[in-house]
Amino acid sequence: MSIWLGQHWRIFGDTLARFVRQPLASLLNVAVIGIALALPTGLYVALDNLQSFARQYSAEPQLSVFLALDAARSDAQALETRLRQHASVAKVEFVPREKAFADLKQGAGMAEVLDSLPQNPLPDAFVLHAKTGAPEAMERLRDEIARWPKVAHVQFDAAWARRLEAALRLGRAAVLLLAALLSVALVAVTFNTIRLQILTQRDEIEVSQLIGATRPFIRRPFLYFGALQGLAGGLAAWVIIAGTVTLLNIHLAELARLYASDFRLRPLDQADSLSLLAFSGWMGWLGAWLSVSRHLGQPVWDRMS
């Protein structure tokens, strides 16, 4: 067991040494893999951020019911009763016009503008949560309430959030597609690297086979190399993403401050980072495995004769 472990450890060491012996070629390979992986990963990070941004504004379907400006508080109370009795309304929240105005003032850089207004331009409003979130039901409810007296306007707030969700789904599909395509590139790069290595080590492979090396023994260093190169490429992609996010955040901080927001781009979280590394290592291993299977051929009988 310890011999077995020692052997693996030594092969790992040899693999690292082989990596270092050709620094330029190894670095270029790692860079190619890194950039190829950074593209879909970067897109993924962008979508992730966009999504969390969207989540801050609830995607839960709700209706905003704005009353006419001349509606009195008693009108509002009558409406509230009526809304609460409605069969398809789950929750009703009353937003008095004063509160809406105060909220708005706290919002992004609006205080000065609002203070200059002669009076509160906002009406009383209700925020409704429906029992079912189906868009058709919501739209029916919206049309119904809009016809009630003293109701000025009913807005289906979730519409844009839903559209965004749909766009994000599209984006995620694009990320997957891009990732699949570029994984093929990763596999191809590894395949070719290993092919060249097998060619340059043909003598060693032949002698080893002649004096009793098993196929797994011959294959192992190449598989290690592929996996290691893939892993290094994944690491490079991670660094590219982390660097980009950090750089963008510096500029974003400036922009966000102007909008009185603390919005920041989030880099890859731990789980995603680990997935990236595991995936890239695995793809490298796969490329090496394909190459070794293809180029070592049948060593035992035929090649020698």
Binding site: Q7, D203, E206, V207, V300
Partner: protein, 217 residues
């Protein structure tokens, strides 16, 4: 230990390198396979070590039918042998030490013991102190001895050597031949393919003579 029974070896294109060859070699024997170039000496050795399969007949080594072994069992058959190739097949991008180390690395030997054995093998062939040289820095005779060190380092039961004195002058050839004799004295079965009369004289082996792929009486 090794037994050939009605062995044929045919190559693509129809050339028959061996025709109906039968013999057997007991453990501890020293044997010379002789005959002119093209008589099938090399082919005979390759069949013994499971490098080529027989086209017909059976090659039995240590009770195993070589032609019927599964490919994944072949490496383990080959570990019974120490092979000295006609063209040495040294690795010129590795040091002398690493060349001799190779068989032990392949079999997964304990590192410390392996280092000891490499030194012992190099000592036996008179190359101790040259561990860090590159094979290309060695003379022809030294390269041959390096190839022998690699063949014996894992203490094989059978030593197969293909024209081990091929390009050497007679002094070197004598050294090498004596080396094989001394391996045989400690119990190693030695099979040498040669057409060098000096070797036969010094080694006094049992002779398996080949001519045109057949046993010559």
């Amino acid at each position: 230990m090794i037994s050939f029974s009605h062995v044929f070896r045919r190559y693509r294109g129809g050339f028959e390198a061996l025709k109906d060859v039968s013999f057997s070699i007991a453990a501890g024997e020293r044997v010379a396979v002789t005959g002119p170039s093209g008589a099938g000496k090399t082919t005979l050795l390759r069949l013994m070590a499971g490098i080529e399969p027989p086209s017909a007949g059976s090659v039995i080594v240590n009770g195993q039918n070589v032609g019927q072994l599964r490919p994944r069992a072949l490496p383990f058959l080959r570990r019974n042998f120490g092979l000295v190739f006609q063209d040495h097949k040294l690795l010129y991008d590795r040091s002398v030490f690493d060349n001799v180390m190779l068989p032990l690395t392949i079999t997964g030997f304990d590192r410390k013991e392996a280092v000891r054995r490499v030194h012992a093998a190099l000592d036996k062939v008179g190359l101790l102190g040259r561990e860090n040289s590159a094979p290309i820095e060695l003379s022809g005779g030294e390269q041959q001895r390096l190839a022998i060190a690699r063949a014996i380092v894992h203490r094989p039961a059978i030593l197969l050597a293909d024209e081990p004195t091929g390009n050497l002058d007679s002094d070197y050839a004598r050294d090498i031949t004596d080396m094989f004799a001394s391996f045989n004295q400690v119990g190693v079965t030695v099979v040498v393919a040669t057409h060098d009369p000096g070797v036969l004289q010094r080694l006094t082996p049992r002779v398996i003579a080949l001519a045109h792929g057949k046993l010559a009486a």
